[in-house]
Subunit: 246 residues, 2 copies
DNA sequence: CAATGAGGGATTGTTCAACAATCCGTCAAT
DNA sequence: ATTGACGGATTGTTGAACAATCCCTCATTG
């Protein structure tokens, strides 16, 4: 192990160090409450009350609000305060429009890079993409298996989070930090919709087999079929969600 | 013109009303300075100095910093201050990776919706997409013509901004507010790279004909060719930029 | 001469208190 | 039922204050 290896390992842990901002931690707490569904969409977050409850100043709290506002979990109305975002049907449609672009795009990028690294002539992109394929889809496989295990135990909220992790892992195939972050924000926003839905079992159960199918297609390196499977998945999910949302 | 029409028009102008936040305006000023290239990447933005220069309090200024930090124009290093973002080569590659997904994805979405609204059976998406096609590509045409006019006048910075508007307009084909916003942030980030480049003429001139070609393909409703043309465009642009950045 | 360690000035992180601006509900008037 | 005015409550913004941290300098040490 050379010196540079040590430094790279340390650099990977740096993110854990710089995390010590009060506003950031406050944002973490609020984000958890929102994604858990404790803070229902539409509720107003009073600066004074929450500041007193968390023991932080109004200024610091406002910093945290800005953070969550940019993640679209809160909306900030001037001179009125911040509210937990309430998504409209158009928002849901837009989110799925973007999911189509991001998730199918990630699969497509993976396919192109796989092909580019298969014939060794053109490896302009990350080297050895095809050789690393088994590791690359490992997180996807883990998410699918977690979802199936949780379903067997009847823990449907865990199925939901595992399902989210599945899609996050698929988007990670593009190996683009910005795409991955955009996908993370998108899924956090979608959670706001899922919480207003009843019957999580019927909703999540149907997607178990679809996720498994997409995983097998990716394992078989059949990218075209995987992309179209993802596309139809998103079509049905959007239709189901839009219907349940009215 | 019925009453509901009036209300919809007013609602469209609401965004112009709520814009009166001091932090937001400060962010606008700083954003302009950054995208103009006056604030060179790497420079530190002192809270005290800028606060005094703009006549705003430190707290308000920090809110503006946070806004621009979320747009990735500034980086915030704990206990050290905020700096104009300095992009690495990996950042440039990632930005183009995301451009491929977003811009090609937007063209693809447009193609799918065009086909869906062409056979009137399935118009689940926005109605009459194919009928509105001429209006939809109008902003793209305007951007191309502006770029050509500015090039004829030798105003190469205007060519650059028109070029940006071209790609923004292409991404707008998906009619997804979130995709459009993501594209806007992406292009603002890319401006940081363009400013460190010399010879704007040689850089932008080559893309005039390519943009025109993509426009003509879109006009002819040849979506497949338009998407692949955009893809090769991004390939060459990325290669050129990566080379110039070393 | 290189490396280490202590000191000090400058900048940021966070809090607090205060005032102006704005919103919202209530109530009276027409 | 609509309009207008009033008052309480909340947010927007500021200025000051103190603690925490960083960065530069310089002396020490081997």
């Amino acid at each position: 192990m050379t010196t540079t290896d040590w430094l790279e390992e340390l650099q990977a842990e740096r993110s854990r160090l710089g995390r010590s901002s009060t506003a950031g931690r406050v944002a973490d707490v609020l984000r958890a409450r929102i994604t858990e569904g404790v803070l229902v969409p539409g509720t107003r977050l009073s600066e004074e009350d929450i500041g007193a409850a968390l023991g932080v100043s109004r200024n610091t709290l406002r910093e945290a609000f800005r953070l969550l506002g940019h993640e679209r979990l809160l909306v900030h109305e001037f001179n009125r305060g911040v509210f937990v975002r309430r998504l409209t049907i158009d928002d849901v449609r837009d989110l799925y429009q973007l999911r189509r672009v991001l998730e199918c795009g990630a699969v497509r990028r993976a396919a192109e890079r796989f092909a580019a690294s298969a014939d060794a002539s053109e490896d302009r992109f990350a080297p050895g993409f095809a050789q690393r394929w088994d590791e690359l889809i490992q997180p996807i496989r883990a998410a699918v298996e977690d979802a199936e295990a949780s379903a067997a135990r009847g823990q449907w909220v865990d199925v939901g989070t595992a399902n989210m992790r599945f899609h996050q892992a698929v988007s990670a195939l593009a190996e683009s930090p910005r795409l991955e972050e955009a996908m993370g924000h998108l899924l956090a926003e979608l959670r706001l919709v899922f919480h207003v839905m009843q019957a999580p079992q019927a909703f999540h159960e149907a997607y178990l087999v679809e996720n498994r199918a997409i995983l097998e297609l990716l394992t078989a390196q059949d990218f075209g079929a995987a992309e179209s499977a993802m596309s139809t998945y998103l079509d049905t999910a959007e239709a189901q969600l839009v219907e349940a949302y009215t």
